[in-house]
Symmetry: D2
Subunit: 360 residues, 4 copies
């Protein structure tokens, strides 16, 4: 008789395993440790992509690869070395640099996948969401939730690059995605400073009476840097004045939220902005679920697992599930944008956090 650990072998056992295979059956006992590890054991690895490299390569793609119907977007994904053969940052999250030359248009389409843009530098592009042109500027966080038509156009002579974030890996894995082509051009080339949806929705605590039901995703198409910056600055000032406001000493942070529910901006993606005071550091955290960070301003270090990474403006890094991470500002203020799959973890009740030194 075979032991469950695999020792011993007989012709009957050999035949049994052959019959498993012939009948599309797989025993659990030979796979258990891999399938159900003692703690999350991700194939994805912590990794850093340098903005200078990404930007340089994207610039070259801008010269060599046209944008248009079919390929749809000149977006180049961050491919986690632990997930070979994929274009995934983590098993759930897609992160890409998108590049648009001066006066180019990326055509309109829509898809089930939830998407956002974050602008680490530059300006001059408008994203047209369901016909509503939304200006993209440095520091802005912009939404195109699932099944909203969207296209981009560059109004200037200069190229512009930004970050796209989507739930493509999870959507693809679970076979949930629909896709529909729209106009080959954007449907409105106007370039207003502020979109119609912002004019309707982007006020503190005010809701239009014409739309009172809770919405699955946030109706605010652009979270402007002006407010994010001010909110973070005020948290640090309040801390200086002796009032509770920050997450931990010297660490201010805001979460982008859906004003109709108070929850995350989209059902699968959480987005936050973090600011560390010069000299400040976060605690080390293990979290179920994965995230992608981009340095927005300043420099500092991230400790991912056991490895310390020096980070400059624009650098991106991923934190796979349960890999311990901490951030450290050095001589200057350190600003970072983060997105993660935390809403998935929370909605499915898989979320768990462990901070060494605190109670589990």
């Amino acid at each position: 008789m075979q032991q469950m650990d695999g020792t011993a072998d007989t012709p009957e056992l050999e035949q049994l395993y052959k019959d498993f295979e012939a009948n599309n059956m797989t025993p659990l006992w030979t796979q258990l440790g891999d399938l159900m590890p003692l703690q999350p054991s991700p194939a994805a690895i912590p990794f850093v992509w340098r903005w200078k490299v990404l930007h340089d390569i994207a610039r070259r793609a801008g010269h060599l690869v046209p944008v248009g119907r079919g390929g749809e977007r000149r977006a180049i994904a961050l491919a986690n070395p632990g997930l070979p053969g994929t274009a995934y940052a983590t098993p759930t999250l897609w992160a890409a640099i998108q590049w648009l030359e001066g006066h180019e248009t990326a055509p309109e389409h829509r898809h089930s996948q939830n998407a956002f843009r974050f602008v680490v530098e530059g300006e001059g592009v408008w994203t047209v969401v369901n016909g509503d042109p939304v200006r993209m500027s440095r520091g802005d966080f912009l939404l195109t939730p699932g099944w909203n038509f969207h296209g981009h156009h560059n109004e200037t002579d200069q190229p512009m690059a930004w970050i796209d974030g989507l739930d493509i890996p999870l959507s693809h894995y679970m076979d949930v995605g629909f896709f529909e082509f729209g106009s080959e051009r954007v449907t409105d080339y106007a370039t207003p400073d502020i979109s119609r949806s912002e004019r309707l929705w982007a006020y503190p605590g005010l809701r239009p009476l014409s739309s009172l039901d809770p919405l699955v995703s946030s109706p605010i198409p652009a979270y402007r840097w002006e407010y994010t910056d001010r909110a973070l600055a005020e948290q640090l000032l309040l801390e200086d004045e002796g009032h509770p406001a920050t997450v931990e000493q010297g660490h201010a942070a805001v979460r982008f939220s859906n004003p109709t529910t108070g929850g995350d901006v989209m059902p699968t993606i959480r987005a936050e902005f973090h600011r560390l005071r010069a000299g400040a550091a976060t605690q080390t955290r293990h979290e179920v679920g994965s995230s992608v960070w981009q340095v927005f301003e300043g420099s500092g270090t991230a400790v991912l697992g056991d490895v310390e990474h020096k980070l400059e403006k624009g650098d991106l890094f991923v934190v796979p599930s349960w890999v311990p991470w901490s951030l450290h500002a050095n001589g200057e203020q350190f600003d970072l944008f983060r997105f993660s799959d935390a809403p998935v973890m929370e909605r499915l009740h898989f979320n768990r956090t462990y901070i060494p030194g605190e109670n589990k």
Copy 2:
């Protein structure tokens, strides 16, 4: 035998009714029509209070009645003539004009009752909410939800008046109120333009990571006129541009909301701001639940039941449950603040609306 309508009479019946009374019993059949009418039949009546009168009388109270511990507030309630012996605007809502002389302080206390202030004119007073000074200025809507300590002080030489709204009638009826005295002076006489809670919370769609749970009441202590005005103006502009934004033609409106839930600012009170374009009118509505309105700017008319009332700046009126109402702007833009018990109706599932001419 007696009929259920009360005709006929016998000694046995007389004895029965005596025994009901002697044993603290009351038959339903003699009261049914009153207790369970075919539709809401409020004792409260539609009524208008003139701001000029309220203000003049409050001014005299300012000279004659001191404010201080015991009486607590120089607030004079709108007493619905249909509810004699009470100080209630409606069975659920309290509305009062509060008056504070120059350099006066109304002492701190807290209570279960939910409260707000609305400022139709004036400035110079700060409400201190749990130690956080909140400036009160024209057009601002200010919260002191249940069990938050609060006091007021007037920083100037001039008196200031505003409107208080509370759920005192409902709380009193249901025996739910607790009250606690605090400092006889306010705990912080600072006069910042913007309170600490606004610095933490009053941004479009941003939440501090230090407070992520849903809150029963909104953490925004002041909804500033600047944003309310802009939101209403934009709705009308969007309507002009051909986009859906208003409640009905020429009628812009916002609801003050709790950014942690998207719902009402407090569990028992809804607050809204309405703007009618010159010449515009609302549909006639019957609604379960009662509300109080104050004209903020402009003039117009309200039709309450069958009666038309001309309204000027500052005038207040009540709409009892199910009394049909409509608003009409005349030659100028007509701005009104409204508060109501709608969250109570909705949470208890008694809400119902009927618009004659539409399907019930």
Copy 3:
């Protein structure tokens, strides 16, 4: 100048108070203590009604007062002596004994008010809810949530009495009620053991795929004594076996719940069944909100405020808001049915409980 406590007086003050009254204004400072007491100070008093008395008087009403269209129900309400002139058990709750002679029919109607029946003894009546006949038997708890048509008919030669509970006082106070007459006879005189809605809904943890949305009120029309009794008995047995199951030592209790939400059976009324082991007692509790209890079986005592009341089968008593209460079984098991306005308190966030000796 007058003090806020009302001392001192001048002609100017007298005129001020006259002008208040003439202009439908009421100062807060003269009413504050009554309107906003330090803790709930209900007018309703704790009170006991004896089942023998209720039953005897109801029996006489059965002989003297016909039931039929107009009066609708031969129901006699418990009128709290602290609420003179009303037919209310508490400010929010109505409790009545209803009596139906043999072969009588109480006609069909519907109303916004939520209603239930509880049967302390007897059988032979069916309540027809939206055309679905529901048998009423000893120990059963039966629902007719707001706006469901319902009538009753007695299939036997014998009279039957039961308890009606409704939110009439709250509905009347808030002006929310609609009422509609239906058939003068019940629409179905069938007398099945089990109603159609029970056949569809009354299973542990099973929902019909034909109705998957959450429902405002429970779709189970009758909670049968068989299950209630078994659930309570098992809790005490589990306690005997050393497992957590009871609320406190010797005190088993179940809440009737809406299987589509897990919450209360109706938006305004909570219903529970409590069983105390012989010799057991509850802690003393102060609770915001009011409740009505009926002894179902056994005898014991209730301490309401400072007064101890001996209780027999069928006796009813009320506990107004914040009045401390405890129950004590003596030589035998003590079974009690309870209903309360707790869902109102919780939905409006006025709920609070204090157990002396525990932390507030």
Copy 4:
């Protein structure tokens, strides 16, 4: 210049693609059609496993492979031929036949993954969940939600087989799982007919007052066949009597639900039981998300995609995302158990259903 469809080629382009690869970057435009298809395009295929084959092979494994610590369970998974190299029925769902010889024990452990058992035939095994022994009998649906310790033991001389369902594939993909070994034997070898948790929880609409908060997963450890069968039978009888009760003509169905929320039994898995009257058929449905079915009794056919499959008792089949399916009873009543990842789809708002002939 290269076209987005990939035609044309230059040395610069070649170098660009090399640099993509060297820098862990992947262009979207070459993968778009695969990553974001027009509609879900699952790799998993519709497939049928025959119970006779599964049972025979599992019986042989019972003789050849011991059960015990390390391998933990003698469970053999249904491996979808479209997902080679995995042991997955679908990308999200695991389904296995588990076999326990007479008097064997499968040791206790717990894991984040949510699990259930369904018993198509046999009896004699108890699953011990957190120390509470739960009898397993034909037709029962049994829960072991995430992080509950559980083991199995066979009290009889005869082997027993049943179906395990888990969210292992999704949990593994998303890196969310924790695992902990417990006792090598079950902690309680008692063999009660009914578990303690059923005694506390398995009543229609009754909740113990000792546990009133909503629970993430259902506290009912076993949904007994007696109730499932009765609920389905009553739906068909009600249909016969002319009342709405079934999903569609001749098709009765119940969903197993969490009595504390009314929702699904676990956050990631939905479970239902379906009964088709002889001669009845379901509509054809496309659904986002995947499911696994097992025939419980009777025979019939399933049309999956374009292929018709004849089904006998115990046969299992999978329906990948968006593959159209319908069921057809032939000469006899057709009973099927189903589980699916629908709660995942709904919580992440990816759910969509299309019924040809109805509006999308």
